[in-house]
Structure formats: structure tokens, C-alpha cells
Symmetry: C2
Subunit: 379 residues, 2 copies
């Protein structure tokens, strides 16, 4: 008699569920299955999902009617029985626009296909714009991208720095001078296309999960002009009580002082790790030994800050995103060694720490994942 959907971990039913919702869920389940496994027959999908062949045929008929799924011929194997008609998502029928607002001086965007592959790019220098001006640049960038698209657009995904609520309102984004800016709604009105706006680090975490092979209990640490993070717990992005989950840049780390931060506190994680600080420190170092020490210290600080988080959340993976020449190497090594030294090996001995495999496109692609999951229930 266990109730609730999803993974059964949610304790309280919150809203009614009608048969049509169940239908939508099963519909997404079909697309999800096709998205992940590629070419399958109706019978394959039935076996995979547990639904009957009849129901799958019915759902697939709907999806074919909407041009979301196509038949791609018969399976060519030697086997008794009627040959299977292979299906796939109509991966070439729609395109997605992804936008990354998290870089310090540039807005970047891309046109992606349903597999998250980047088909075209555009960027726009921010040139110090803030407030309404900055939003106008987002709109201009999207317009450029829409022109580059060669298929109908499934939706627009935007990864924004700062604190973003579930409705895509940017509550605060200091660098852009935004407060309570309803970017998602504004863009949706402007372009009449579904829009999703999400925090940049959360987008990155989703991208790493969907495209980078990350596990379901993962933290993505994004190092740049500031330091932020995105969390995926049991496969679900964490937003936090005030949508500020992942904001670890201004957590004080260690009990031995440090530099004064722009926020006024002493020894914030950013004072050790943010790229301007790190670059400055490295520029002042004369020997390569000193440079190594600086990188080690930075990684150690990150490890000190993350150890309690790893312990509390039982993470299985930490992924770093940011300048490879700074992060990948001594710094990453110091981080994982510090975490190992400060947590229980029984639980966290096989914690993995690695660089992202998605490079600079991580936020773009995460924004695309949000569109996919929002519009198709697929990711």
C-alpha cells in the first residue's frame, strides 16, 4: 500500500493525480527509454517499461502523431517471428537553444540538437552591462541563435549566475545587477517558446549527470570569478530553502584566518579559490615550487570545506568545472587527499573527484537538459 510516485522517498502526497497525469508520465517513460537506448521496437519498450505492447503502441501512435517519434525501418537480424519495426526519438526534428550567462564578461549561447550536441554558437560581450541592458543582451543573443536554428525550437534554456527560484526568477545576481528579475517569463513572452531559467551551477550539475556520466549523488564545484556549486542528490537537483543551495563561495574555511573577502569576512572559500585571487597569487610566486604550494593550499581549503558536506550527504562524486590549468593537477589532488584525510574511509574511500569532461559548454548543455526534461520529460 506504499503510496507516492517517483522513488517512493517522498512522504506526503501533495496534489491530486488524474489518469491523464499517469498518461503523461508513461509517455515520458517511453521517450526516456528511447532517448537513452536509441533504436527500439514497440515490443522492446514494452518489455523495458513493464507496460503492455498495446499501451506502448497507443502511446507511440500519439508520439508519432506529434512528430516526436519516428519509425526508422525494420530490424535486420536473423530470428524467428515477425521482424520488429524500430523506433527512435525524432532527434532531428527539433533543436534547443542554450544560454550561459555565468561568464564574467561574455554571454554565450548555442543551438543544440536533442542529444545535446552543439550545432552552432553565438556570443555577445557583456561590456559591463547590468540590469535592463544586460537582459536586452540576452534577448539579442537568443535572437541570433534563433536565426541560426534550422529546425523548430523545442525551448530555450538559460543558466544564470546568482539565486534563481523555481519559476525562473533571478532573485539576486550581483554581477548582472539583477534582483527579482523574472527572466523566464520575460523571455517566454518575448519569444513565445517554452523557457527555463536555472542557476548556472545547477545546470552544470545536470549536464554532467546527463552527458558526463556523473552519478546520482554528486556535487559540481564551479570555479571562476566566484565559486559556486550545484548538487544532485538521488538524481534530483537540490534548490534549498531559499533557492540558494550550492552557494559555498562565502563559507569561511579553516580556523586559521586568511585573506579578507569582498564580503567582509576573513577566509571565505573564494579568497583561496576564485580565479582572480589564484592568478594573482601565482603571479606573485617566483618559483614553481611556490606555485605548487599555492595550488596545493587552494585545493586543501576546498577539501576542508567539502569534507563536512561529503560526510553529511554521502556523496559519491565531486566534479570540478573551471580553468583546467588551475584546477586539474595539484589542486584537485590536494582536494581529494584532504577530503579523504578528513572523512571516514569506510564510507568515502571510493569518492571520486575529477574534472568535468564537458569543458566550457557545461552550462549551455545543462540548460538544454532542462529544456529536454521540461518539454519531453527526458534527460
Amino acid at each position: 500500500m506504499n503510496q507516492g510516485f517517483g522513488n517512493g522517498r517522498e512522504l506526503r502526497p501533495t496534489t491530486k493525480v488524474l489518469p491523464e497525469h499517469a498518461r503523461g508520465h508513461n509517455r515520458s517513460l517511453v521517450m526516456q527509454t528511447l532517448y537513452r537506448e536509441g533504436q527500439l521496437s514497440r515490443a522492446d519498450i514494452a518489455r523495458e517499461t513493464g507496460l503492455t505492447r498495446v499501451t506502448i503502441s497507443d502511446l507511440v501512435a500519439d508520439l508519432i502523431g506529434e512528430n516526436l517519434v519516428i519509425e526508422i525501418g525494420q530490424r535486420e537480424d536473423v530470428r524467428p517471428g515477425k521482424p520488429a519495426t524500430l523506433l527512435d526519438l525524432n532527434r532531428d526534428a527539433f533543436q534547443i537553444i542554450g544560454v550561459d550567462l555565468s561568464e564574467y564578461a561574455t554571454f554565450r549561447g548555442a543551438v543544440l540538437d536533442l542529444d545535446g550536441k552543439i550545432l552552432g554558437r553565438a556570443e555577445l560581450p557583456l561590456a559591463g552591462s547590468t540590469g535592463e541592458d544586460a537582459q536586452a543582451k540576452v534577448i539579442a543573443l537568443v535572437e541570433t541563435l534563433i536565426e541560426k536554428a534550422t529546425r523548430p525550437i523545442l525551448g530555450i534554456g538559460v543558466g544564470s549566475p546568482g539565486v534563481v527560484d523555481l519559476a525562473g526568477v533571478v532573485l539576486t545576481a550581483p554581477n548582472l545587477g539583477w534582483t527579482n528579475r523574472s527572466l523566464q517569463r520575460d523571455l517566454a513572452v518575448r519569444f513565445s517558446i517554452p523557457v527555463v531559467v536555472i542557476n548556472d551551477a545547477n545546470a552544470a550539475a545536470l549536464a554532467e549527470h546527463s552527458f558526463g556520466g556523473a552519478t546520482s549523488d554528486m556535487m559540481l564545484v564551479k570555479v571562476g570569478h566566484g565559486v559556486g556549486s550545484g548538487l544532485l542528490l538521488a538524481g534530483i537537483p537540490l534548490f534549498g530553502s531559499r533557492f540558494a543551495a550550492g552557494e559555498i563561495g562565502h563559507v569561511v574555511v579553516g580556523t586559521d584566518g586568511g585573506l579578507t573577502c569582498v564580503c567582509g569576512k576573513v577566509g571565505c572559500l573564494e579568497t583561496w579559490l576564485a580565479t582572480p585571487r589564484l592568478d594573482a597569487a601565482l603571479a606573485n610566486a617566483s618559483t614553481s615550487e611556490q606555485k605548487e604550494q599555492i595550488l596545493w593550499a587552494a585545493g586543501e581549503r576546498l577539501g576542508i570545506a567539502l569534507a563536512p558536506v561529503v560526510g553529511a550527504l554521502d556523496l559519491s562524486e565531486i566534479v570540478l568545472s573551471g580553468p583546467t590549468q588551475l584546477l586539474d593537477g595539484t589542486l584537485a589532488r590536494a582536494t581529494i587527499e584532504t577530503i579523504r584525510a578528513r572523512t571516514m574511509p569506510e564510507f568515502h574511500g571510493n569518492l571520486v573527484l575529477r574534472m568535468t569532461t564537458l569543458g566550457e559548454d557545461i552550462v549551455l548543455r545543462g540548460a538544454a537538459v532542462m529544456v529536454l526534461s521540461g518539454q519531453l520529460g527526458v534527460s
Copy 2:
């Protein structure tokens, strides 16, 4: 076209959903509504849930048939229209057995009603038992409790120390000498009643949420012979990648050394905070000023460990459970002040830190919540 149930935050549909599952969900929704708001008419429930009166009548008929809901007479107000027939959960029809295995020397249990009120108690000294012997004592305790029950038993909930998986297998519980012990299954077989086994700190977090008025993004820190914690994020308990979420006792805290822990590391949270250590330190202190210093230092360490967690998770509340005379006062004050000093006031300025209001029964009652939620979808 957004898919998925629950809060819409899960991204991937994982299993099929049939109409009967939707029915079960709505059924739980009705019970949930009655559980929280008490006496309501069918029409009230319909308004509350968004389902129609017809559907509610149908669901309620089922629930009355199962003796889970009863009619308790007509509403006595002066109003136009046909008088409403009030309903309520049949709170007196079933009882729950809750068991707390987390105390160092004693297994405690209770018979509870559906509101979580304790109707009777029993306990059994552990007397150093481990392994199979310890499990035999759990069974003996449950037998005693079943005899005390005066109504059919809805289920048995057990809060166990250690690492417990989703199937109620105690993967490791050092104090009890348990590894991979399938306690939930064993008890279910022995008593032929639904059983739920869950980690003690997770149970405590659930209890605090259901009965203690805690918010939905909360950490419960349980201080006793060891130090553990339970996390509720967006109202969902966090289990972690290896079911070890919340295990913060052996996270090293600070960068200035400390005492050596039984685990071999130096400066684990437990070396500052576990009650044996604290009591010993306090016994060695001569002046009350020294004692205050010790308590302050302990609280400060807890704050140092929690600050990154608060930042990463954007928690709104931290609840302490354990010996009031140690925790409530200087220690708690030091903790919250330390967290405040080490995180961003914009986000965490209104973080609340408080003692539990549920006292020593917190685990028992949390175990009961698991039974309620598992059997009725209510909590």
C-alpha cells in the same frame, strides 16, 4: 507538458504509473488531509484537494469500508444548505509500535496512536548484547509491546543506529555488532506485520518534521555516545549514495589539531561533542568559567562543521537532539553564532537553531512516522 509527480523536481520517470497507482495517491491525499486538518466533510476534502465531491465520496467509501475513516456526526453550525457529515481518520482503530535502538545501553519501545501520542512504554537493558543476541532482544521488546497494544497494530517502526539501507537492512552498526542484518525482513516474518527499519537520526528528523514543527529543509543533529545527523531536504529524507548520509561524527573539524579519535583521526567532531568526551572534559574543569569555555568550544566546533553544510544545502533550520543540560545554552549559542559568522547573512541570517521539542522520544516517534507514511501515506 511537464511530467513527473511529486514536486516536479525529479527529472526522469523511472517506472510505469497505472490508474490504480493514481488512485492510491489520491487515497493517501484524502487521508493526509484528514490527518492534518482533522474533522472535515467530504465537500471540504473536495475543495481542499481539487478532486470532485463524487470522487471524494467514492474514496471515502473505500476508506470507511476498511475502517480507516469514520463518520463522526454532523457539523453543528448555523448555515444555509444541507448540514455536512463530518469525517475523521479512525484514530482509535489502530496503534503503532515504535522502537529506538540508538541508546547506548537500552532498547526502548512504545505503543503509539495514529497521532504519535505514546500510550505505553517498554524497555530492555542491552547488557552488552551484540549480533544475534541483540536482535533477540529487539524481538522480545516488540513482543512485550504487542501485548500492551489494545488495538490492531498498523505496523512496527524501528530506528536503528548505523547505516541502514532502503530495505531496512542494517549494513553496519558497530555498537550492536551488526553487519548486513536484514532486521526489517526478519521482524516482518516473525510478526507478520508491516515493518520499517530506518536510521535513528533520519527517524528523528522525520519526527521533528511531523510533530516538532520543523521546516522542510532541516538537519537534525543527534548528540549522544556518538554524533550523527538526519537530513530533510525539500521534505524528503536524504539517504545518500551508500545510505550513509548524516554520518558527520567522524568528520575532522578545523585546521588546528585536536584530540585523537577512536577512529584514528585527529579532531573528529565526536572528540569535541560526544557526551562521554564532553562529560569527561567538564568533570576535569574546576571553575564554571572553564566549563562554559568547554561548552563554547564544543558548540563552535559543531558550527565550523555545519557552516559548509548550511551553505551548500541552504538549510533553514538545525535541530539538536541529546542531553539538554549539555546542548541547550552555551553550546547551542556558540553553534549558531559560529555558523552565522561563517556563512552569508543574506542567505542564512534567518537560520534557526534550536533544541528538539520531542525529548527522548524523538526516535520512537520518528519510527512511527515511517509506519504511518508507509501504511497510510500519511505523516
